[in-house]
Amino acid sequence: MTKPVRTFQDIIAQLHAFWSEEGCLILHPFDVQKGAGTMSPYTFLKALGSAPWRVAYIEPSRRPTDGRYAENPNRLQHYFQYQVIMKPSPEDIQDRYIRSLEAIGISRKNHDIRFVEDNWESPTLGAWGVGWEVWLDGMEVTQFTYFQQCGGFDCKPVSVEITYGIERLCMFIQNKESVYDLIWQQHHDSQVTYGDVYKQFEIEHCHYNFNDASEARLFQLFEIYEAETNHCLDKKLAYPAYEYCLKCSHTFNLLDARGVVSVSERTAYILKIRTLARRCAETYLRSIGELEPVS
């Protein structure tokens, strides 16, 4: 028997258990490609409105430009975020967060844990908040944000968002130099690593993102998704609209990685997506009765 190790899946399970105890719903990844856990409707839409909301979920996140053909040990175009949202933000949220680290074996006494200013803004979502990045012995492991606005609307009450980079945390815990060496699962003597699951996936996606994505078709897709978002919005269907808005965003990210978007076009695309996201937020607020319906 090899020495027991805290595996990638252990960490996720332990975070789930911890936040479940703190009163959070444990939800599952949302089935549309997206750049970050914040873009899940469980955050973007649910942070709007006055109803309380407490949730934790894991979210695959795609950043096509960050791909490095699996040659860089720290950077991926597809990775996981562990996301916690609590609305309204509890007074003792920092303490809860530090206890969550202890739940995965990182004791406050043994490490230098710091909250260093890092304000967050998503131009595509028309969202921003203030907060910190959390440093664990100098390593940035978490983004901690008090949402101030979402889709251009003030967040009342304010939600707090905690986003763990779980690969980073796991590398820290398992003392690995490369994300691909992380032990995802250990069963008796057999191990499955992160690389076993995702290395080939990374390489192929990098080829696609940087070289092989069909530029013309992606531009077409963007237009189609944009039209479909607007179509859904006209029907006052916020959720379906938002899914197509996410597809727009991902398609734009692919085009960006492909290097076919000029700097000035880039701004125009971001503005288009922001306008869609804003309309989604507005439609959602109307459908839950927190904004006057359009007559």
């Binding site: 509890p90 003792d92 006494k109 230098d112 008090y146 967040c155």
Partner: protein, 702 residues
């Protein structure tokens, strides 16, 4: 009886960069508020302290009570307030009633020399804690915040959520309520180092306002930033690090409550594989580490990190953690560096063809081409000659422009944008054919801000100028409208750069001619040209004033204004003129006054001449007075190219002649030809005076 008042606001982590200013404002607001409250205290000894989790205010020697106040309340004047028999009128009695006093409290007092019915309103001073309980929350809420936030369901905002408030006058609690927090005497010690029930830290009951600092120090909090700064400084010195980045140092002081310096190392392969400036950037920018230099050896493969929660048990773990993070960052950098350097700088320059940059202004590649043309224009226009200069004789300005922006598409600059210029310079220095350009590429972004270095090398300075002129023109062309103090596009900085570079190199430069040239290169008309021209003039005006304030000769704003038109052709000359003018005004005021009055008079008449359109050349046969001929001879001999401060003496002699001229000559003569001839003559003289200054703007008083 007096006592110290002490306030501690316990917050979630406050951004380090704002803390110092918050403290300054806290003190100012406190002084301001107390001044209105008739509470005596030792204003000069008011202190503030802060860490990332707390803002502290200490007001020593506050009197126990407010002073009583006597206020004379003014009623009607006696003419209306008193009857002939000296009794009060209805008007006076009405005043008493309205003020809630009885007739016997009324009196007659002179106010500004006039008798009025009055009464003396006496207000008894309140106990200081009572005053403070109302005042302190107002002070806190009046603090200007650089970024504010809301949290939970609070509607008011602050810099970060507040968790506790200590508010003590001596040993007595001054109670108030803010953001749902009740002010009291409970503080919290170091988050991690003190043994608390939660990560708020151990709760500490503060005995009195005098003991806050010492009680917290017992629990690993150094509230006074000067004490932390000294600890860190001493620790750095003991590791041989005597010079360090001041901004980084200050930030670290406010990122800690119980600072401890640790030393880590990094692998030799990074020192060998990466240039020093990249190593330093990785350490400082992202990790807030101090690099270590050793005389003769340069940068050592180690770093110093200031941690906040160090114990004997966790020290090794923290160092190892930090080493791993840095190693990961450095291996990223090495990866990009190796990829980049496998290609030539020219291949990156070619890639700029694909980078669309600003609307209507083509790609970055097009921009480089423009920079080449602008540089050659400036070179000829300024009258430079590199042919005889050993360092520059092989410099091809078009070629320099071709490489200037190539680094913007290297992986290294994409990853570390602040290294632009440096990376290009470094990559250029690695290949023989680009080597000679590397220093110029590096200099193009100078000056970076106030007090920054300037481009010293002529080609670097030309590139820096061209880049800024081009940027100003396309920004305005595309509709930029600079407003207020914000400068998001860096337009102000660009003009400041042009001004300082031209001044430093003492280059003459017709700013408007360069702008003409830049507009021509965009070749789509003259959009927003007026706005750009007035923007540049306004900036130059402000910069001339600044120069007066900071230079050795502290000339005043009006003198700065008087040379603005000269600065648009030659910045250094304009500043020299301003200095000489100022000295002339101070040393020989009467002479200066005469010159100034003469010049203004000539200028106003010249304006009349200009209004008549193109006048014929001066014809001496039309002169009627000797003095006209005398001044004509003077102007013919006047050598404008010769300039030094003694020229003001010459001007004085000329002004004396003009005194006679204006005595003898009626400029606006009845004979039209004579009048026009005289006006034309005065226009010539006006041009001479304007070469010194526009005297009209100068305030003529001592």
């Amino acid at each position: 009886m007096s006592a110290t008042y002490c306030l501690e606001l316990g917050c979630e982590e406050i951004p380090a960069r704002f803390i110092e200013q918050l403290c300054i404002n806290l003190k100012l607001k406190c002084i301001e508020a107390l001044a209105k409250q008739r509470v005596t205290c030792d204003v000069d000894s008011i202190q503030t302290y802060a860490t990332y989790r707390r803002l502290v205010l200490c007001v020593p020697n506050m009197s126990a009570k407010q002073e009583d106040e006597q206020l004379l309340v003014k009623g009607p004047p006696v003419a209306i307030g008193l009857n002939d028999d000296g009794s009060y009128t209805q008007a006076a009695l009405g005043f008493a009633k309205k003020s809630g006093i009885s007739e016997k409290d009324l009196c007659i007092k002179a106010i500004q020399g006039k008798d009025h019915v009055c009464f003396l309103k006496e207000t008894l001073g309140q106990e200081t804690p009572t005053v403070l309980a109302k005042l302190i929350p107002e002070i806190i809420l009046s603090l200007p915040l650089p970024i504010n936030m809301r949290w939970a369901d609070h509607t008011t905002s602050f810099i970060r959520p507040i968790h506790w408030i200590v508010s003590l006058y001596g040993d007595q609690v001054v109670p108030f309520d803010l953001f749902g927090v009740q002010a009291g005497r409970v503080s919290y010690a170091h988050r991690m180092k003190s043994d608390g029930d939660s990560s708020l830290g151990k709760s500490v009951h503060i005995t009195s306002s005098e003991t806050l600092l010492s009680q917290l120090e017992e629990h690993y909090v150094l509230v006074d930033p000067n004490v932390r700064a000294k600890r860190i400084k001493d620790a750095l010195a003991s590791e041989g690090c005597d010079t360090y980045d001041e901004a980084l140092f200050k930030e670290v002081v406010y990122l800690t409550e119980w600072p401890k310096l640790l030393k880590g190392t990094f692998d030799d392969r990074f020192s060998k594989g990466l240039p020093e400036f990249v190593l330093i950037e990785c350490m400082k920018k992202h990790q807030r580490y101090f690099p270590v230099f050793q005389k003769g050896k340069g940068l050592l493969p180690c770093f110093l990190v200031v941690a906040d929660n160090v114990t004997d048990q966790n020290k090794t773990t923290i160092i190892q953690g930090n080493q791993r993070v840095l190693a990961a960052r450095l291996s990223d950098a090495l990866f990009y560096y190796n990829q980049d350097t496998a290609q030539s700088l020219a291949s990156f320059a070619e890639k700029l063809k694909g980078v669309v940059f600003q609307k209507n202004c083509g790609t970055l590649y097009d921009k480089q081409a423009r920079l080449g043309i602008i540089m050659e224009f400036l070179y000829a226009h300024i009258g430079l000659n590199f042919k005889n200069n050993n360092d520059y004789k092989d410099v091809d300005l078009k070629r320099l422009a071709y490489f200037a922006k190539a680094d913007l598409v290297t992986q290294m600059v994409v990853e570390f944008p602040s290294l632009q210029g440096k990376v290009g310079a470094h990559y250029a220095s690695k290949k023989e054919d680009t080597f000679k350009y590397h220093e110029f590429i590096q200099e193009q972004y100078l000056p970076l801000g106030l007090g920054s270095k300037l481009p010293e090398l002529a080609p670097g300075a030309l590139l820096a100028l061209a880049d800024r002129f081009d940027m100003l023109v396309y920004s305005f062309f595309n509709g930029a409208k600079p407003t207020g103090s914000q400068d998001p596009l860096g337009l102000r900085r660009a003009v400041n750069g042009i001004f300082r570079i031209l001044n430093h190199h003492q280059w003459p430069c017709d700013i408007m001619a360069v702008i003409d040239q830049c507009y021509e290169l965009i070749a789509k008309g003259n959009a927003h040209r007026d706005r750009l021209d007035s923007f540049i003039k306004a900036r130059f005006q402000a910069l001339l004033v600044d120069e007066g304030k900071s230079g050795d000769t502290a000339y005043s704003y009006d003198i700065a204004d008087s040379v603005l038109h000269l600065a648009l052709f030659n910045v250094r000359k304009a500043i020299n003129h301003a200095c000489h003018l100022y000295e002339f005004k101070n040393d020989a005021f009467e002479k200066f006054k005469l010159v100034s009055e003469t010049a203004v008079r000539v200028h106003r008449l010249a304006k009349k001449g200009h209004e008549l359109g193109d006048l014929p050349q001066v014809q001496t046969p039309l002169f009627e007075h000797d003095i006209e001929m005398d001044l004509y001879d003077t102007i013919c001999k006047f050598n404008l190219d010769k300039y030094d401060k003694d020229r003001f003496e010459d001007l004085n002699k000329i002004a004396e002649k003009f005194t006679r001229y204006f005595d003898d000559v009626l400029v606006m003569a009845e004979n039209d030809a004579v009048k026009k001839n005289r006006l034309r003559f005065l226009i010539s003289w006006d041009d001479v005076f304007l070469k010194f200054a526009n005297f009209e703007t100068i305030v003529v008083s001592q």
